[in-house]
């Protein structure tokens, strides 16, 4: 009798944990897949679980380091047992030699890396082979690297490019880089040396961003209009101004940018202050965008309430090229 109860309760337990008991029957391929979503530190730690897990981490095609020391990173790289490196995320604030950083990046490139995110917190030259990496699909450079203005750029598979606070060797660097990315779909930039871009590049982009559908841009207003002319398929634009040194209005383009006529649906302006040159650009976009659905305008805290009402009234009276376009005003909130 007692035995039967025990059997029944075991049966019940098995039933409620049937997935769990079978998890250990998953093929290594699936377990490696689960491990590939962990930071490398946690992935290597699973070697303690049991014999089967001892070397599983070494076959995971990803590396994701968050401020590990140099010896640790090198050790893990040497102990890996798989040739391919699909994803390499290196967040490294600890000082180390440019030579070491160069070695790590080259290591990834030689292993056909597809997704590469680098954050070093200080500028360093990147290995030249980064710019001719044929396997790269997704690249983020944050606070590191210098984008060269000459030499080969050939990134035939690159779809996503994020550049945050990188240095540009010269004004031509950005167009030069983009010209080597024929299938780029997403470009996100946070610019730190916007001055140079604003003065020269803003009027000198000869590269077209044909596949670009979504753009988050931090730059000045003149650069914004230039970008619109070169991004025929742009649908979603998030813009905030980097520098407020420019008091001059941006010159409207000679022809209405193609994206305004048939593509651009959503625009967000981050933190406007109410300057005439800001309103001019908003007026232009509202006037000529034919399929615009929504414009969100975030205004700053520095605007007085009367000034604000006047500004909002003025904007809401701007002619709209799209009858269905709604305009939302949102006060900047500080979280």
């Amino acid at each position: 009798m007692e035995k039967k109860t025990e059997q029944q309760s075991r049966k019940r337990r098995n039933r409620s944990h049937v997935g769990i008991d079978r998890l250990s029957s998953l093929p290594d391929r699936v377990l490696r897949h689960i491990l590939s979503f962990l930071p490398t530190k946690s992935s290597v730690r699973t070697s303690i679980l049991g014999q089967r897990w001892r070397h599983l981490w070494a076959y995971v095609p990803n590396l994701d380091f968050d401020n590990e020391n140099q010896e640790t990173i090198n050790r893990v790289m040497l102990l890996r047992k798989v040739q391919t490196l699909h994803t390499f995320l290196l967040y490294h604030k600890i000082n180390c030699s440019p030579y070491q950083l160069d070695t790590w990046v080259t290591f990834a490139i030689l292993r056909n890396v597809q997704k590469l995110h680098l954050y070093f917190r200080y500028q360093t030259a990147l290995p030249r082979c980064l710019f001719t990496c044929e396997t790269l699909v997704n690249l983020t450079l944050d606070s590191c690297g210098v984008v060269p203005s000459s030499g080969a750029v050939r990134l035939p598979r690159l779809k996503t490019l994020h550049l945050s606070f990188v240095q540009f060797e010269a004004d031509e660097s950005l167009p030069h880089l983009i010209s080597g990315c024929p299938v780029l779909e997403e470009l996100v930039m946070e610019l730190c040396n916007v001055k140079r871009l604003k003065l020269h590049l803003a009027y000198d982009i000869s590269v077209r961003f044909r596949n670009l559908t979504e753009l988050k841009l931090v730059a000045d207003y003149r650069f914004l209009l230039k970008m619109l002319e070169n991004a025929d398929n742009l649908q979603v634009l998030t813009f905030s101004e980097y520098s407020n040194e420019i008091e001059r209005a941006a010159e409207p383009p000679q022809q209405v940018p193609t994206c305004l006529l048939s593509r651009l649906k959503m625009v967000e302006f981050g933190c406007i202050a109410g300057h005439a040159y800001e309103l001019e650009v908003i007026r232009y976009i509202l006037r000529y965008s034919k399929v615009l659905e929504r414009v969100k305008i975030v205004y700053g805290l520095c605007i007085g309430s009367e000034e604000k009402i006047n500004m909002l009234q003025e904007i809401s009276l701007f002619r709209r090229g799209s009858t269905t376009c709604e305009v939302a005003f949102v006060r900047l909130s500080i979280d």
């Binding site: 079978r22 530190k41 946690s42 049991g50 020391n69």
Partner: protein, 163 residues
Amino acid sequence: MAAETGTPTTLTLKSNDDELFSVAESAAILSVTIRNMVEDGCAGGVIPLDNVDGKTLASVITYMNGISAIPADEEKKKSYRDKFLSDKDFETLADMVLAANYLNMSCLMDAVSAKIAQVMEKKSVGWVRRKFGIENDYTPEEEAAVKEEHKWTFEGVETDDDN
């Protein structure tokens, strides 16, 4: 025939505990396993899915319908997946990863794997062994040696044992 007349084709799926489910073919073929059966002409009657129980299959079908109703918009799909998995406990996630593996559904597989990884990352060794059904087959000496070998992975790590 149905495809020619423009009527959406419906498939009938059978779980390993004999529950039957109707699902639009267009949603069901997110599973490469099912798609192959459809393409091979084996989907005429009932499609038996021997490795998935009714409760899990119902959940997978909810996912299939939900995600295939979203047009090509990766961000919306991602937020649907996040929401879909947000209230699932570890046992359910375990069932889902097994089902996604069997049904060969890469998008569900990725989302569930990521969620499992997220859950296990902060858990103790004991918790993970228990939840994954892993038998500790190290001798104490071996275990100590492995721990020593990768001691950096245990430094500064806080784990818990909660469910």
